[in-house]
Symmetry: C2
Subunit: 591 residues, 2 copies
């Protein structure tokens, strides 16, 4: 029996041990069913995604064994389904294509090195406490990227559905152009098979549940049956191809021989030149994979009123990817589709993942000969059905109504990924989201404010019934003052003063000013001087503590004099109204 | 006599005509003196800067004739001295070196094309109303860039001061390394001459005024005499070299023959491939030149309680650069040093610039043979003395005390320019300033606030004496809510709620929230749900008009319910205090 302290440590590092402490028989049955459903989905998807990554199909299965077991031990999400996923596979595929073109090795060794780098990067992010770096990828960038990647993935599968050697260089126009030019050469049987596959998959996903619910089948069986669509499609197509003899006459492309046996844990040769080339894609794969896993994990956890721990996820996914590297395969992540299936099928803990991994292990060990006749067109259909829901037109429309900048970011990321490729596209999207953010804050909202009724509250004169004093101009700048907007703010205040000749005092209400940088400080100094030369005194009000601390280290407060820094806008208004009312010679009286 | 309307138009487009309407004889005398002082400075500087740009010396003089006349007509600054400037010359030099290395033509035709592009870009910026783009280059970036460029310029002149063929590839370490390796091969006479030149220049600049002020010379003569240091140094060195016969024995490098005559207005051949390569440097030269001109112009104008018009400056500088192109020379800008001299010498209008241009024109037409014996070491010394004041260590120290991020930007730009070159360096600096801005706003200041005394004012509990209610957590987020900080804010609020079990209401005071993007909206929706599941209600207060307009277009306000949006923090606090006091079952009572 371990000591309580050791137990706590164990539970801290291995969330599974915590869940097992009150694990019931019924939990296990739930996990068993969910695990089997996911396993049945994982086998076709694994093979299909390996294809997408430009690897032989067994590597997709290898990626669905050891990484799953590792995640099951370390992961903080009960129902996240880790393994080969569509988007990461696409990114791995484009990286492998680039790296092999530069003569940096064979696809498999590149994939292994990528896994190693992805795992290392994730664990480094944890050690350096930099997990929050994913926050810099905005929702809109990810959404635009995902839609574009899904479209690219869908189009890339047209080669398997048509039997045409469509160039797969990541440029959608090339692929579609080639398709249109070679319409007459399409392999009719392949196309038919592919379309039938799509039909079966769609039927299982969209219609089967409705039909079965009217049958005498028990409810707990209906859900798994509907999820097994890809497996049905595979089995039917294998039987059809094997019996028809179409494959023997090369009329249909099949998977062929898959080596039997579990992946062998191996050593990895270190190639610094290769790592240098793989570093950027590895960072992107790591970040996107982590982000997808955390967001799916958070969504599922919140449905059970639980939370996942992003730090634990960094470690768990990092270790899972190292596991992928040492079992000789390509990077993994938590996938959207299978996690949803896992959750919906009732997974209680990561035991479900262990069941799924065992099913895949059994398949790899004994059943690969059964897949000999599996047509590639069916794998293509499986991929297409898996990625279609990721194309999210609704998100674009929703963000257009709420925030044009978000919609613009989403759309430009989408276009950038389609035209510049996956890697450059997402970097572009991140850059655009940054630029738009800076652009927005470079033209801040500035309101002229007045007192609301008799309160101490000041609001925009254009929006509320407020009282103002014609000798006092109170403005509120709704942005921090920094290099990109100082001139804008300066110009606004100058223009306001120029159009209101009676103004003697300008109060700048700084409750929305969160910092002032060196450029803005200089601009304020200039503004103070220029206003003074026109007989106008600048005052500040509601300056925040951290800013005040810094201003006190400079000579600005002396330069501001006779202008003052008031604690509140109310105090400023009272003091200045009194001062002008007490018959200080106002500009108006002088001229 | 033109109609009043035409006169107004004339005055609008040609600020000089406005100033001439009350131009006095005394104004002309001031302009004449200032123009002659600037002219005397312009002749050696023009030749020296042409050198820096990798062009024969006469091109620096050409750049000081027609562009000055054009600016004199169109410019809105009375005392800005346009012409060849150090930093633009360095940038032109590095561009020319790159372009000639790529075999894109001879230095002069590249320089002419650069002028054409720079002029066109500036005028396009005016037409597209994009002049404010320069605001995106922060003060710190420009300061770091200027210091590094000045250092690069200084080091580049060591070849003229030592007579060594120091490689001038823009990498300071290469130059210094070469210098150290070849210390023994330094040309002693050249070095001596250069150091003497520096001594004379320094003496005229720093000491002469003090000595002359004690002499019987009239005051109006002292200032011009001190400014003529470069001219003195040139004349003395020419006399020395010509009489000593050193140049005949190749012991000292001299300027040699300069073609006599004014620049010929010519046509420019269009070379799209060249333009493509020159575009990025041209944009940077245009922006930096514009920024330098506007900031010098603004500084000088504010000393006379005037303002310059950035839009007019775009047109004036654009036209001046087109003038440079058609007179066959390289880009110009408003320079810091000569403008200061122009102002200090009493320039009243741009007539001073016309005088200076005429002096240069006379020199080019008749006096170039006099410069035959001018040693290059003296030109090097002139450049070094001109750029030394641009190395601004004080600015770095000042920004370090006020704002570490600014200091970091300045320092990294400085290092980037020195290590990556002028162009990439400044782009890097801009990128860093953007990233730091986003990084800063990704970890916003969040304050738990309470009521100040009996006022309606709420401030940070950590900084002020305030009263709070243990059932109500009022927080103020000092930043807009957007993708980079949503998780940070969410985590802060959750952590606060977790540590204060009695909290029933969270009021998020949004007076510093200037916008909410789609990522943040989703995060707020999640937060509302999660807090609700813990029995805590989220409320908003002081939401700004523009944000409220947008929120009303979404379903968020329904999701927030029973949470409310209060007009002020005060109202929120009153309403919620009353609600909890009225015996609504609080969490504490329930558990």
């Amino acid at each position: 029996m371990p000591s309580p302290q050791r137990l706590a440590t164990l539970r801290h590092y291995f969330p599974l041990t915590r869940w097992l402490s009150d694990y019931q028989r019924s939990d296990f049955i739930s996990d068993l069913i969910a695990g089997m459903v996911v396993g049945v989905l994982l086998i076709p998807q694994g093979m299909a995604y390996a294809f997408l990554a430009g690897l032989p199909p067994q590597y997709g299965l290898y990626a669905a064994i050891i990484p799953l077991l590792i995640y099951a031990l370390l992961g903080s999400s009960r129902s996240l389904a880790v393994g080969p996923v569509a988007i990461a596979s696409l990114m791995v595929g484009s990286t492998i294509a680039d790296a092999t073109a530069s003569g940096l090795g064979d696809p498999v060794s590149i994939a292994i090195n990528l896994s190693l780098l992805v795992g290392t990067i994730l664990i480094c992010l944890r050690i350096l406490q930099l997990g929050s770096i994913v926050n810099f990828m905005s929702h809109s960038v990810i959404s635009g990227f995902t839609s574009a990647a899904a479209l690219l993935i869908g189009v890339s599968q047209l080669r398997h559905l048509t039997g045409l050697a469509i160039p797969n260089d990541g440029f959608i126009t090339d692929s579609l152009g080639f398709l249109l030019q070679h319409l007459s050469s399409i392999n009719g049987i392949t196309l038919l098979l592919g379309l039938l596959g799509l039909l079966v998959l769609w039927f299982c996903k969209a219609k089967l549940a409705g039909i079965l619910s009217r049958s005498p089948l028990p409810d707990w069986l209906i859900q798994p049956l509907c999820r097994a669509g890809p497996m049905f499609a595979m089995i039917i197509s294998i039987l059809f191809v094997a019996s028809s003899g179409l494959a023997q006459h090369d009329q249909i492309a099949i998977i062929g021989k898959i080596p039997q046996g579990l992946p062998v844990i191996g050593l990895i040769s270190i190639d610094l030149q290769l790592w240098q080339q793989l570093l950027t894609p590895a960072i992107l794969i790591a970040l996107i994979g982590f982000l997808e896993s955390v967001s799916v994990g958070t969504t599922l956890a919140s449905r059970e009123r639980e939370r996942i721990d992003p730090n634990k996820e960094l470690v768990a996914l990092g270790a899972a990817n190292l596991g992928a590297a040492f079992s000789g395969t390509y990077p993994v992540a938590g996938g959207f589709g299978r996690s949803m299936v896992n959750f919906a099928s009732g997974a209680r803990t990561t035991i479900a993942s262990i069941i799924a991994a065992l099913m895949v292990a059994i398949t790899v060990s004994f059943l690969t000969p059964l897949f000999y006749y599996l047509p590639k067109a069916i794998l293509g259909a499986v991929i297409i059905m898996a990625v279609l829901p990721l194309i999210d037109i609704h998100a674009f429309r929703a963000s257009w109504t709420f925030n044009k900048a978000d919609a613009l970011t989403m759309f430009s990321t989408f276009i950038a990924v389609l035209t510049l490729g996956v890697e450059l596209g997402i970097l572009c999207g991140i850059g655009i989201s940054f630029l738009l953010f800076i652009y927005r804050s470079s033209q801040p909202h500035i309101a002229v404010v007045g007192r609301v009724g008799n309160s101490q509250h000041f609001r925009n004169v254009a929006r509320h019934e407020v009282t103002t004093d014609k000798h006092i101009l109170a403005i509120r700048v709704d942005e921090s003052l920094y290099f990109a907007n100082t001139r804008f703010v300066e110009d606004f205040i100058r223009a306001q003063c120029a159009s209101r000749r009676e103004v003697e005092h300008v109060i700048m209400i700084c409750n929305a000013v969160n910092f002032i940088d060196a450029s803005a400080l200089e601009s304020l100094e200039n503004l103070t001087l220029q206003l003074a030369s026109e007989g106008v005194t600048l005052h500040l009000a509601e300056v925040k503590g951290p800013i005040m601390d810094r201003l006190q280290q400079t000579t600005f407060l002396q330069q501001l004099s006779p202008g003052q820094v008031f604690f509140t806008a109310d105090e400023a208004m009272c003091a200045l109204t009194k001062a002008t009312a007490e018959g200080q010679p106002s500009k108006g009286q002088l001229s």
